[in-house]
């Protein structure tokens, strides 16, 4: 146990050497209401769990050491094997804790259901995300633009992502903003979140899908709403139009070096990709 403590100390000692930077990328540096609620829940649960695990961590070394063979002071009762008070102590409090946590769990599961819209006064942004090999396509159906591997959103507005996959099952995670949900071919799932302050947040696919998996990252760029509007307009005018070649390129199994933007995205592109997967295997799977 000593050793364990020592190795933990090593870790703590190493942390200043840059370890803390990692933490900034995660939920503990939440940048939106969903992640914030998740982080609050996390800390609540963790505190309760300290009280659950604590007794074991304390009792095991103390009892083992106190009742060591060499200690002739300690009582030795080799036939003692039961006591109702102890029995009740080990069944009832944990059960009570689980009941308590269960209530928290039930409520939080409903409150943080990814399908649940974020209650903010501003209007929601709708984005359609398509998981591809090995990139993400984000369609902004209202603005008729699309991006690959970059997801600009207006800070302070709720974002509602509808997901599908143009290939295998994948999972979209933005740790600082929201948890993940799977994207599956032929199906639509949903993820709601909001960024409460401008910034750049790392997003990724967490479900292994082949060689390019580790590079399938993207940035969620939360812009001040006015900047966002400007960006949208700029894209509508300057970005490359989404044509047949662009559509075909989506399904090539490749990573892309830098984000790509498209304008003139046709209506119903997302629906087309959802339906595409229901075609016979030979056409859909390549």
């Amino acid at each position: 146990m000593n050793r364990a403590a020592r190795s933990l100390t090593t870790l703590v000692a190493l942390a200043p050497l840059g370890g803390c930077a990692a933490l900034k990328l995660g939920v503990m540096n939440a940048a939106g209401p969903v992640a914030q609620a998740q982080w609050d829940l996390y800390t609540t649960v963790a505190i309760v769990l300290i009280f659950v695990g604590g007794p074991v961590l304390v009792l095991v070394p103390i009892i083992a050491w106190h009742y060591r063979r060499a200690n002739t002071e300690s009582a030795f009762r080799p036939d003692w094997n039961f006591a109702w008070p102890l029995e009740l102590l080990i069944w009832i409090p944990p059960t009570a804790i689980v009941v308590g946590l269960g209530i928290v769990l039930w409520q939080s599961a409903h409150r943080l259901d990814p399908y649940r819209a974020i209650a903010l006064s501003r209007s929601p942004v709708i984005v359609q995300a398509v998981a591809l090999d090995w990139k993400w396509l984000f369609i902004y159906p209202d603005a008729h633009i699309a991006t690959i591997n970059r997801l600009p959103v207006p800070a302070g507005h709720p974002v509602r992502i509808e997901l599908t996959s143009g290939t295998v099952m994948q999972s979209l995670l933005v740790p600082q903003l929201a948890g993940q949900v799977y994207a599956m071919a032929g199906m639509r799932t949903q993820l709601n979140f909001a960024a409460s302050r401008p910034g750049v947040y790392r997003g990724e696919n967490t479900q292994y899908n082949g060689e390019g998996f580790a590079r399938q990252k993207f940035d969620v760029v939360a812009l001040p709403p006015a900047d966002y509007q400007r960006w949208v307009r700029r894209m509508q005018h300057q970005a490359r139009p989404f044509d047949a070649a662009a559509y075909a390129a989506l399904f090539e199994r490749a990573t892309i070096p830098a984000p790509v933007m498209y304008s003139a995205v046709p209506d119903g592109l997302f629906g087309r990709i959802v339906d595409r997967s229901r075609l016979p295997a030979a056409q859909a799977q390549r």
């Binding site: 933490l23 095991v60 083992a64 029995e87 599961a109 600082q176 949900v181 990724e204 056409q283």
Partner: protein, 691 residues
């Protein structure tokens, strides 16, 4: 195209060596090196056996044996071999992640994917399962006072099917490539459309063979426990290890079919173009996740329960005290087993089902914490008012209790759907399950290995090297896996062959160092074995009871005679041997010895294993003639065996008498040891009993 008919998809390109020759890179060279290791290892073993002229003896005394003790040992030996490979892969993975931070690293992405797929598959199916099956095999009949398991031949068949499956895993290193779909093999990624090669097929058939073996094993153990307990051993007098073995067997019986269905349907998709899990034409990949975890969750309790049983035995023995709260331990075990069928959805909280469903399964998951905690507290109360001896097995038990709790608590965090959304598929999850599997399962198996080794081989393992190894396991574990919690919470996805985030580097370096310490731990374990074998004369315990044991397995010689008990025991309490020693009735010699019937050796096990392995290989490479021939061969073997009537062999009373008298003479010659000297050469396996 006669070549295709004859050899299916097999070609020169399939060989790892050829690939390395044509395209020599670090990556292909590592692959070829691994393949070479397998080939050289196999050749060396064969050569060694041949040179020493041991084939006949091996075949007669081991391969065809139906003795549960030998089968148990062979299982553990198998797990050893597989473990060495899986550990090497683990270290390679950790090195890759520590070096591939905005850099190419050691292996390429595809190779890395094979590494985690084979590592996970091997650790679960071909390290953990054979190891615990081996231990149960060895100990169970001894503990319930039986001469063998219910179906000895079936037992051998299970072993050889498992071995064949493990062989297939090894073959995949040399011929072809393994799956890149992880140990869970999720389609549609593993469908032909996305993984056209042989990889997923290797995975499918290895796992299927293994799971058939495990189902049969579960059936065998459950029947044994139900029907073969000795007189007086009521259900509430069974040693706790027997209880956990029973629950594990029940879990195997009912959960393995789910895996078989999942892999079989995937095979139908891949081979015959069915549409169970495809994207197109009405396939439903979500059902695969559902089926796989219907198996997968109970499976993790299959793994942990026997370890719990081992801890119960070890804590009680080395606290010199009766187990506290037997009934509640038994009830907790049953509760865990039953509850484990009600929580599988927690592995895919993120698939998109409603909050109601997630909440119900989340709460059910947390509920398992209660009986688990009860067990831990029972062990603590067992040490309470005892006399605790810090031998290696007990050290493992202590480290287990302190570390497992942490993993259990992170499990509770994962059970909260909103928190799982954040850390699912990240290194947080990887840290959770290694935190359960290493301090829980592995320490348990190691504790059991140290505890029962003297029983099986007649000499103790070296204590000093045991402690070194233990220290490395603990330090290595914390170093290798605690950083992963941080990385996971920071969003680092599991199964990443490359890292684009320099901020992760310090943690990855620590984890990499930890993996090296773990490798040292394993090395220390091998050194310990070597040292112990060399010094075995000093450490022999022929009397059979080196630890002042409590259950029946300690009441016979070490190693035990083939028939286990010359006279089947009668028991009247929970710790029968412990009580007998106190009452002075232990080691009583019967008035006379009777002849004993034991099953005759049979070649059916190895034959079915070999045919099964070749059938699987043929299916992987689509060599249809071979597949058909081997399957027909298997059916024919079974039918032929049903015509064999001469399946029993009688050990004459005189032989029994001679063996038993020898042992009693040894007993008479041995000086009783007090517990203070149990880890020294004085210990000859006879415990001094203070009435």
């Amino acid at each position: 195209m006669t070549g295709a008919a004859l050899l299916g998809r097999l070609g020169w390109q399939s060989l790892a060596f050829v690939r390395a020759w044509q395209d020599p890179s670090l990556n292909t060279l590592i692959a070829a090196g691994a393949a070479a290791l397998v080939v050289i290892g196999a050749v060396a073993v064969v050569a060694l056996i041949t040179l020493r002229g041991q084939w006949r003896r091996l075949w007669r005394e081991w391969f065809t044996s139906l003795d549960h003790k030998k089968i148990g040992i062979m299982y553990v030996a198998l797990s050893f071999v597989m473990l060495a490979r899986a550990l090497a892969e683990a270290v390679l993975m950790r090195l890759q992640q520590a070096t591939a931070i905005n850099a190419p690293g050691v292996v390429d992405a595809e190779h890395f994917a094979q590494l985690f797929s084979t590592h996970g598959t091997i650790m679960i199916f071909f390290m953990a399962m054979p190891f615990l099956t081996g231990l149960i095999n060895y100990v169970l009949p001894l503990q319930i006072g039986a001469r063998d398991v219910s179906f000895p031949l079936l037992n051998a068949i299970s072993l050889w099917l498992t071995a064949a499956a493990a062989g297939l895993m090894m073959a995949s290193l040399v011929v072809g490539r393994f799956s890149t779909g992880g140990w869970s093999g999720y389609p549609p990624f593993t469908e032909t459309g996305f993984s056209p090669g042989v990889g997923p097929d290797y995975w499918i058939w290895a796992v299927t063979l293994g799971s058939i073996g495990s189902t049969l094993t579960g059936l065998n153990f459950a029947t044994t426990i139900y029907k073969k307990r000795c007189t007086g051993m009521t259900v509430m007098r069974m040693p706790l290890f027997v209880w956990t073995s029973l629950c594990t067997s029940i879990l195997m019986i009912f959960s393995m079919p789910a895996l078989t269905v999942a892999t079989a349907l995937l095979a139908l998709d891949r081979y015959l173009g069915f549409h169970f899990f495809t994207n197109a034409l009405g396939g439903n990949m979500m059902n695969y996740a559902n089926l796989f975890w219907l198996f997968g969750h109970p499976e993790v309790y299959v793994l942990i329960l026997p370890a719990f049983g081992i801890y119960s035995e070890v804590v009680s023995t080395f606290s010199t005290k009766e187990l506290y709260g037997y009934a509640s331990l038994a009830i907790a075990t049953i509760a865990i087993a039953v509850l484990s069928f009600t929580v599988w959805v927690h592995h895919f909280f993120t698939m998109g089902q409603s909050a109601n469903i997630n909440a119900v399964f989340g709460i059910a998951t947390m509920a398992i914490g209660v009986p688990t905690g009860v067990k831990i507290y029972n062990w603590i109360w067992t040490m309470f008012r005892g006399e605790v001896r810090f031998t290696v097995p007990l050290l493992y038990a202590l480290a287990f209790m302190m570390t497992f709790v942490l993993g259990g608590l992170t499990g509770i965090i994962l059970a909260f759907p909103p928190l799982d959304y954040l850390v699912h598929n990240t290194l947080f999850l990887v840290a959770h399950f290694h935190n359960m599997l290493i301090p829980g399962l592995l320490y348990g198996l190691l504790a059991g290995y140290h505890y029962w080794f003297p029983k099986a081989f007649g000499f103790r393992l070296d204590e000093r090297w045991g402690r070194v190894s233990f220290a490395c396991w603990v330090v290595g574990f914390y170093l290798a896996f605690m950083p992963l919690y941080v990385l996971g919470a920071a969003g680092m996805a599991r199964r990443s062959s490359e890292v684009l985030e320099p901020a992760f580097r310090p943690w990855l370096l620590v984890a990499g160092a930890g993996a090296l310490v773990l490798a040292a731990a394993l090395a220390a374990l091998f050194v310990q074995l070597w040292v112990s074998v060399r010094h075995r004369r000093a450490n022999v315990v022929p009397a059979g009871d080196p630890w002042d044991g409590r259950a029946l397995e300690w009441s016979v010689s070490a190693p035990p005679p083939e028939y286990n008990f010359a006279v089947l025991p009668h028991v009247a309490g929970r710790d029968p041997f412990h009580d007998a020693k106190r009452k002075g009735t232990a080691y009583a010699e019967p008035v006379r010895y009777a002849p004993i019937e034991m099953p005759r050796n049979s070649a059916v096990g190895p034959i079915l294993g070999a045919l099964g392995g070749w059938a699987a290989f043929a299916l992987v490479w689509q060599i249809w003639w071979l597949a058909a021939a081997t399957v027909i061969g298997m059916i024919a073997t079974v039918i032929a065996r049903s015509f064999v009537r001469d399946v029993e062999r009688t050990i004459p009373a005189e032989t029994v008498a001679r063996i038993e008298r020898d042992w009693h003479e040894t007993l008479a010659r041995s000086a009783p040891t007090t517990r203070d000297f149990e880890t020294t050469a004085i210990n000859r396996g006879l415990a001094q009993v203070l009435a």
